[in-house]
Structures are given as C-alpha cells and as structure tokens.
C-alpha cells in the first residue's frame, strides 16, 4: 500500500518538474524527414531546455495550438496558418524553410505522368486515366496542397470514382496503402526518401514550383492562453532563423540529397 502511494507520488511530482519544458506540435512530414532528430539536440543544448515534440497532422497541430495544449506549432499550410493568426490563436507566422512535394507512382506509370509540362498536367492524366490514387484525405498540409493542384488541373475530387482512395491517415500510413495498391500518391520528398516499404513505387515527377512546400513556425498567443511558455517559444523561434539553423537545414541530406531550403529572415 505504502509502496503504491510513493509510486503515485513520484509520478505526480514529475509533472511539477516541467519548468523548462516546451511542447511543440509538428507535422508528421517534418518528423519523418529526420530533420527533427538533427535540430532538436542542438536546440536543447544551446538553449538549455527540453523540447517535447508532438507529431500529429497539421489539422490536429492547429487544434492543439487553439486549445493552448502546446506552446508553438510548426506546420506547412499557409492558408490555415493565416487563419490561425487572424483568429488570435497565434501571434504571427515565421517562415523557416521549404521543401517540395513529389509525385510517386507505380514504376510502370500507365498514366504517363513523368514527362509533362507541370504537376497540374500530370494530375490531369491520372484523373483521366482513372489510375488508382491514394490521397491523405486528412486536411493536412500535404492534403491541402494536393487539393490546390486538383483545382489548377480543373478536376473535382468530389466527382472521382473508386480509383481515388482518401485514406484519412498520416503520410507513412498513406504511403503504405499506396504501396499495397500500387497507386499514385503525392508525398513530401523527405517522407518518401525515408519510407522503407516502397514496393514497386517510384518517384515519377518533381520540380514544378507549385509543389513547393513552405514550413512556418507559429508561437501560441499568450493572451489567449497565459499558461503557454511564450518566452521559450520565442527563444526557439530566434534559434530557428539563426545562421546555425540555416547551416544545419541546408546541409541536411538523405542519401546524398538535400531536402530543405532555408528561407527564414534573421531579424524581425
């Protein structure tokens, strides 16, 4: 009995030692890239604080920020971010870096998307061929980017038949499904490079500017949620736009390929 109470006490006290801990919600595409594993130890060492990463979809990250359950968010969905700031949940958005999305598909490429004038035309070919396609379907940054391209391509997802699979899942899970179905899919480059279950899939198209993917950092507004660690969130933000961060981000490679391009402005 006493042992159990002590045990409980220890657990509880762990909560009160949270003084220098910051909670940061990031999107799965950022975590999957592996960049987090490079940046985080540096942040913790330089700033002497403990950063807890919650890896969730963009929608959930924004929701956690609105509720004040995290201190800052790092996402890649400009329209949603601007709404987040406009509604007063975040103080502002600070651009940090961008990477790109790529079009993945079966190596046989029946829809012939690899040589086209642009991403929109490639997507048109997929829709017109009714080739099996997997969509994130979860309102994430990646999903919203996909929808934007459908718009440019003048195709309406609501009219798509059963060849279009909206899985409602994270990037990894969606890639797994695409691999199993041998389907086309849009992915961020980092997740694709790190993905270990490629099957017969191949990177078929990339490079169109419309596929660029901007990441931004948003501190949660302390006026709305006085309990957030605003000072620490600002310290991390400054670090993320510093020269050191720029160096780490620009030199981050997977299999010899750079992924991210740093575009943070050093001073506000």
């Amino acid at each position: 009995m006493i042992r159990h109470l002590l045990f409980a006490g220890l657990f509880f006290s762990a909560n009160f030692l949270q003084a220098d801990v910051l909670k940061l919600a990031v999107t799965s595409s950022f975590e999957n890239s592996g960049l987090a594993d490079v940046l985080l130890p540096e942040i913790e060492a330089d700033l002497e604080l403990d950063v807890q990463l919650l890896v969730v979809g963009t929608g959930q990250a924004l929701r956690l920020g609105e509720a004040g359950d995290v201190d800052a968010i790092l996402v890649h969905s400009r329209a949603s971010e601007e709404a987040f700031v406009a509604e007063g949940f975040g103080t502002y958005r600070r651009e940090i870096m961008y990477n790109d999305f790529v079009l993945i598909g079966p190596k046989t490429d029946q829809a012939q998307i690899s040589v086209t004038s642009g991403a929109a035309e490639s997507m048109q070919r997929i829709a017109d061929a009714q080739a099996t396609y997997v969509s994130r379907g979860d309102d994430s940054g990646t999903h919203k980017a996909e929808l934007k391209i459908w718009q440019i391509a003048e195709r309406e997802p609501a009219t798509f038949g059963s060849w279009y699979n909206a899985v409602g899942a994270g990037m990894g899970a969606a890639l797994n499904t695409a691999s199993a179905l041998n389907a086309y899919i849009i992915s961020d480059r980092a997740s694709w490079l790190n993905f270990k279950n490629k099957g017969d899939l191949k990177l078929l198209f990339a490079g169109d500017p419309v596929l660029f993917n901007q990441y931004a950092y948003l501190p949660v507004n302390p006026v709305k949620h006085p309990t957030v660690q605003y000072e620490m969130a600002l310290e991390i933000e400054e670090w993320l736009v510093s020269d050191k961060a720029a160096g780490l981000i620009n030199n981050f490679k997977i299999n010899g390929q750079t992924l991210f391009v740093f575009n943070g402005q050093p001073s506000r």
Binding site: N15, Q52, N176, K196
Partner: protein, 234 residues
C-alpha cells in the same frame, strides 16, 4: 513470411543489445499499465463483490451498464479525456495532458468495466455457494465482501490479468492523451504505430514481439507466484 522472420530477428537484436530506447519504452509500458490495473482493480473488485451481495433497486440496471461499458471504444475515451484535460478544458489546470498520468487515467477508465464484470461474475457464483452459510452466521456486509474476495481471489486474479492484457495492448486512447512523445510518453504500442506509419514493418513487428513476450512474462510470473495450478487447491 519474410517480414515475420525479419521481425523476430529485429526483436532478438533489440533485446540482446540491451537497446536503451527499448528498455525505456518497455518499462514505461509496464509502469503505465500496471499502475492502471492496480488502481482499477482496487475499485472494480470490491465493486463486483458488492454488486453480488447487496440487493438494491437498480441493481440489474447497474450490472447491465457495467457489462455494456466493456464495449467502450478506447479511442473515444481518449478523445473525451483529451477535451477534459486540455488547457482549454475543465481539468486543464492540473497539467496532466501529454504526461504518463493522462495515459494511466484513460486506461483505468477503459479496463475498470472489464475487471468489474469478470469480478462480479466470479463473486456471484461464489456468493451463490456461500449465501446460506454466510447469512446463517450473521455476517456483516463488509465481512461477506472480504470473505468472497479472499476465497475468490484466483478468479479475481484472472480478472486483473484480463485488465492488464487489455491495457498493455491499448494504443488509441493513450496516443491521443499521451502524444507519443519521445522520452516522455512513448510506450511499446505507440512506438509500434509510429514505426508502422514509417513503413518500417520489421522494427514494428520486432517491437510487437517484445510486447507479446512482456505480456506473457507478466502472466506467467503472476501465475507462478500465486501457484494457481498446484494440486488440491481451489
């Protein structure tokens, strides 16, 4: 089949090399689930005994609800407690969200009906056996509950182990309220979900085999300690 072999090898490799992260998340899995089972049992078992011996007006209704609650979808429990424990929610001030205690709380909510239900069933059967004698001996309500709980302890143990199994394999609720944060709230099941999402099936399976091994080990240990299968005992 190849994936499974890879998984087994991955599991062996992790165990033999005393992989630090594996130890950390395994220990956390055990801490969370064992704490949840202990607290849930402390509530559910006497409750099951109480339901067996005390007649009251809505008893049948209570028993039906208790049994029905076994079907509570864990992920829904997680969602509800996220809302309750959120900073914007009624209990946000306790700062429990994204800590192991939030995970323990949701697991308690999920497994208490299960433990209560099995305990109640065991206590009910035992009460039917003891009923005449205990009433004849003029026992108090509390003495009856104590006698049933002690004499029925082996079946109660089964109830506890069932609860433990459910808890240690749970992933939906603890993912939402725990956040699967590395070095803070990551456990075996959420790690498996993470690796599966990354497409690293071999590692995910490896972790899965470790989880199975852990659950089996706890069960065998408990049975050995209580010498359940010794001859001549109930």
């Amino acid at each position: 089949m190849n994936d499974i072999t890879q998984g087994l090898l991955a599991a062996l490799r992790l165990i033999v090399t005393f992989d630090a992260e594996l130890w950390e998340i395994s220990l956390r899995s055990l801490k969370v689930s064992l704490t949840a089972v202990t607290i849930a049992s402390a509530v559910a078992m006497p409750f099951g005994a109480f339901l067996a011996v005390q007649r009251f007006k809505y008893r049948r209704l209570v028993i039906s609800i208790m049994n029905a609650l076994m079907g509570l979808p864990p992920v829904v429990v997680g969602l509800i407690f996220y809302i309750l424990l959120s900073r914007s929610g009624p209990f946000g001030v306790f700062g429990l969200l994204f800590t192991p205690w939030a995970m323990i709380i949701v697991q308690i909510v999920i497994i208490t009906p299960l433990i209560a239900s099995i305990s109640h069933q065991a206590m009910r059967e035992l009460w039917a056996e003891y009923h005449d004698l205990l009433i004849s001996l003029n026992t108090s309500k509390w003495q009856r509950i104590k006698t049933l709980v002690w004499d029925g302890r082996r079946n109660l143990l089964t109830a506890g182990l069932a609860g433990f199994g459910r808890a240690i394999g749970e992933v939906g609720a603890i993912m939402i309220v725990g956040g699967n944060i590395e070095n803070a709230t990551r456990v075996l099941t959420t790690a498996i979900a993470l690796e599966t999402g990354k497409g690293d099936f071999a590692l995910a399976l490896g972790l899965g085999f470790v989880l199975i091994g852990l659950a089996l080990f706890v069960n065998i240990l408990i049975h050995w300690l209580s010498r359940t299968e010794r001859e001549g005992r109930w």
